[in-house]
């Protein structure tokens, strides 16, 4: 036994700790896998859509034009990010189990939590990366469109001899408010947060469900319910429940189903309202809370899971 390969005592007996490096390895493998599955093809679809929405229709009013561009592109971003988060999460975990890849991973000194976190971070990196690219594309198109529309409007006013400095300033102000502002990036951030929460829900479900289809369907149901949570609360709880009971019911509902309406700032961004810093902080905090709780529950379920 003298030439046994590893030093016996030292590493075998110390507890295996959480390791960011290991999580990163798992996350990068996930990203590589997803990228090579050509999942990023949706970026191309998005760019086409953005260009189409920006230049294809010609609405007379510049305000409407910019509105349309923002609502179409942000709406599709939201859908893309949620669909990709849910589908790839729901595919990856059961696939690892079916292929017995999970056996080879977990028979290395890899705590199950690291594996889960690695998968989640991998999917989120992919979504985040995609959103950054699309944010850039969208910003560029919006900026181009904005300056074009402004010049058009000024030219028209000059023709009609209405180009008093005040009028021009007013048009500039309208176009600038509807055009490229920080709000756009906050909207994209909110989209990312919502996709993150929904992805974590999908991860939780796929750690207990045995089929991909089940995970996908239930996650989408939860997503839909999550958007209407405020409605449900109003509808069911207000009239007939006392204060405590209604609060408890609200809490239960909020725990089972994330209140996704919290992240809906896209509409106000589309209509050109300013997003206050406080709202951004709140959103981020709520998302972090949801992710932490769901990940913890997922861990509890996954640790007990028989593979």
């Amino acid at each position: 036994m003298s030439d046994a390969p590893t030093s016996p005592n030292t590493e075998a007996q110390t507890r295996v700790r959480f390791s960011p490096r290991r999580v990163w390895t798992l996350a990068m493998a996930t990203v590589t896998q997803l990228v090579r599955m050509k999942i990023l093809a949706f970026l191309v679809v998005f760019c086409l859509l953005a260009v189409g929405a920006g230049f294809a229709f010609s609405v007379i009013n510049p305000e409407q034009q910019l509105n349309l561009l923002k609502s179409v592109t942000l709406g599709s971003l939201q859908i893309f990010s949620i669909v990709i988060g849910v589908v790839s999460t729901a595919l990856l975990l059961p696939k690892d189990m079916e292929d017995r890849t999970l056996y080879t991973i977990l028979s290395k000194p890899v705590p199950r939590f690291d594996y889960l976190l690695g998968k989640l971070i991998g999917v989120l990196l992919l979504i985040g990366g995609g959103l950054i690219v699309m944010d850039a594309v969208l910003s560029l198109i919006l900026w181009l469109r904005q300056s074009m529309l402004f010049e058009d409007a000024v030219a028209r006013m000059q023709m009609e001899k209405l180009d008093s400095p005040e009028a021009v300033a007013q048009v500039r102000e309208i176009v600038a408010r509807q055009g490229l502002t920080w709000n756009l990036h906050w909207a994209v951030w909110a989209i990312f947060l919502k996709a993150t929460v929904v992805t974590t829900v999908a991860l939780l479900l796929s750690s207990i469900a045995s089929s991909t289809l089940f995970t996908i369907v239930i996650t989408f149901c939860i997503t839909i319910i999550g958007h209407g949570e405020a409605l449900i609360r109003e509808f069911f709880f207000q009239p007939n429940l006392s204060g405590m009971a209604s609060r408890a019911a609200t809490l239960v509902l909020a725990v089972i189903c994330p209140d996704l309406a919290q992240f809906d700032i896209v509409d106000s961004v589309v209509s050109g309202e300013i997003v206050p810093w406080g709202a951004v902080y709140d959103m981020t905090g709520i998302a972090a809370l949801y992710v932490t709780v769901y990940l913890f529950v997922t861990h509890l379920l996954f640790v007990e899971k028989e593979l």
Partner: protein
Amino acid sequence: MADTPAVSVNHLTKVFKGTLVKGAFRAVQDLSLEVKAGEVYGLIGPNGSGKSTTMKVILGLLKPTQGSTSIFGVPSTEVASRHSVGFLPENPYFYKHLTGRETLHFYGSLCGMRGERLKARTDEMLAITGLEDAATRRVGGYSKGMLQRLGLAQALIHEPRLLVLDEPTAGVDPAGSRKIRDLIIEFRARGITVLVTSHLLEQMQEVCDRVGIMAHGRMVREGRLEDLIAVENQTEMVLENASPALLTKINALIQAEGGDTKLVRSGRPRTTLERLFIEATNESKKP
């Protein structure tokens, strides 16, 4: 330290919980075994006798219903026990979008290896398993035998002291499986403990120091190979090109001898382990 067994399984019982429709299934029943450090231990048994289940419990992939298992004295329920073990599951599969080399890099860095050491070790493993030519191809295009060899490389990447191999030769061609047998012999020479299952009994007979025969989730025979297959009061003759006439003559001679001498069996010779396997696993069916 030297006498800490590489693997110890104590009164392991594994029951798979049933659903409402079908009842619970008892895959392993009160199984105890010990693999000493440095030996090659073969676990054999018919399909469904609980070999893979036992291995998964040893690796901490399944939780024992009763009993316990440990690797070099560290309970399998602790992640730390996995530092010193490499596992090749049956019919392994890997991320099909990664290449062979990337796959080994992935597993190496999961074990905390990095940089030059990881690179050198990866190349070494590719060379040992004969996958150098396929190293840059995606795993999705690998044949069954190549996957098996990649699985072996992956199990060895972090230089474990113990290898747990579940049917390493399944789907590998005869030359390949001979090579795997040679590798196991080499591992033993380097002091690596091996716990292996296989249905190729001839090869098991060649590599194993000890074997355990399982049937229906129980251990039905266990011991050193020589002890198990040697039958003290029997002699075996293997003839080549024997004519029927000669056989009749030999028979007559035996009968003439009288006393206790009798012909127990004649026919084509079989590997002795195979014979034992069939006897032992049939016995356990009867009661």
